[in-house]
């Protein structure tokens, strides 16, 4: 897909927040929301998260039901001043990361910059061997279907509905 057409303050949130609250649905349509590190693949107009093969519940849920949501409501670490909150609803495609791609390397670099202490585990041959399951990842590629925005992260008001538009 082409890039999304988004207001700059929404682009900044998708690309700058360290975490989002990511929801999948179980077989019984029970929502489960967990904090997750998001990656905004701007060029492809999509959002990506990854999970370890040791903790694959999000991927298993999304394989059964691709409807997911990502709420960006916690700006900790982003450095953004008074950003909005953004809710992206979309459809997830699940893909095991058996080989590296340009976007998976970029995701890896962005995540490592945001969590700099993770490099210590990677640089140590013993810890990276013991924790190899942490580096065996499954990607959830999310194509947005609807986007809502709360200016100033003010949830006492209804959100603005942005819809989804692409750069032509």
């Amino acid at each position: 897909m082409p890039p999304l057409r988004l207001p700059p303050e929404v682009e900044a949130v998708l690309g700058g927040f360290f975490t989002c609250e990511f929801t999948t649905l179980t077989r019984q349509s029970q929502p489960l929301t967990w904090p997750t590190l998001p990656y905004y693949d701007q060029a492809a107009g999509r959002l990506i998260i990854t999970v370890s093969i040791a903790f694959p519940v999000k991927a298993e849920n999304a394989r059964r039901n691709p409807h997911v949501a990502m709420l960006f409501s916690d700006p900790t670490g982003s450095g953004l001043s008074d950003p909005p909150a953004v809710l992206v609803q979309g459809e997830a495609t699940v893909q095991e990361l058996l080989e590296a791609t340009p976007w998976s390397w970029e995701l890896f670099r962005v995540s490592s910059r945001r969590q700099p202490d993770s490099r210590k585990y990677l640089a140590n041959p013993l810890t990276r061997r013991l924790f190899s399951f942490y580096f065996q990842r499954i990607a959830l590629l999310v194509q947005p279907r609807e986007i809502y925005v709360w200016p100033h992260r003010d949830f006492t008001r209804p959100p603005d509905r942005l819809g989804v538009q692409y750069v032509e």
Partner: protein, 154 residues
């Protein structure tokens, strides 16, 4: 189903993330201020704005926090059902989940707590073996040298 220890942990947060499912079948979330009632074993949300004000059905409530280096992570999820009540929307918990499976604390494993890390290591290795066995896979070798090179790129 109520958990007083995790309810106390939840009170450390001023807000949480309430999620349910919209008419189109997509999850929908808002950040809000819950009130946890140990005696009635319910969680009430007052003054929710649309679309959350009229929610009804399966729902969950997440509390989480981390520092600016993505360390000091805490997370706690309460799942259940929401329905309108006399004082606002009411969540009746059916399960309390933490990132580590603990029923006492919402703290995630970190380097300052070796016991946590060892439990995380053993759990992760066991679960990874189960995943690979279930999917009848051998994962390709990980190229750690290339990973480190990637981190040094500007």
């Amino acid at each position: 189903m109520w958990n007083k220890q995790l309810a106390a942990a939840a009170r450390a947060y001023s807000t949480g993330i309430l999620t349910t499912v919209d008419a189109g079948g997509y999850p929908v979330s808002v950040r809000c201020s819950p009130e946890l009632d140990d005696s009635q074993e319910v969680i009430t949300f007052r003054d929710l704005a649309p679309p959350a004000a009229g929610w009804e059905g399966p729902a969950c409530l997440l509390f989480h926090r981390h520092d600016a280096r993505l360390e000091q992570q805490y997370e706690l999820l309460i799942k259940g059902r929401v329905a309108p009540g006399p004082a606002g929307l009411v969540l009746r918990p059916e399960g309390w989940l933490t990132g580590t499976g603990s029923a006492q604390t919402d703290r995630m494993p970190h380097a300052g707590a070796p016991g946590d890390l060892i439990r995380f290591l053993l759990l992760g290795r066991r679960k990874a073996r189960e995943y690979l066995a279930k999917h009848q896979e051998r994962w390709p070798p990980l190229d750690f040298a290339e990973m480190l090179r990637q981190l040094d790129k500007p």
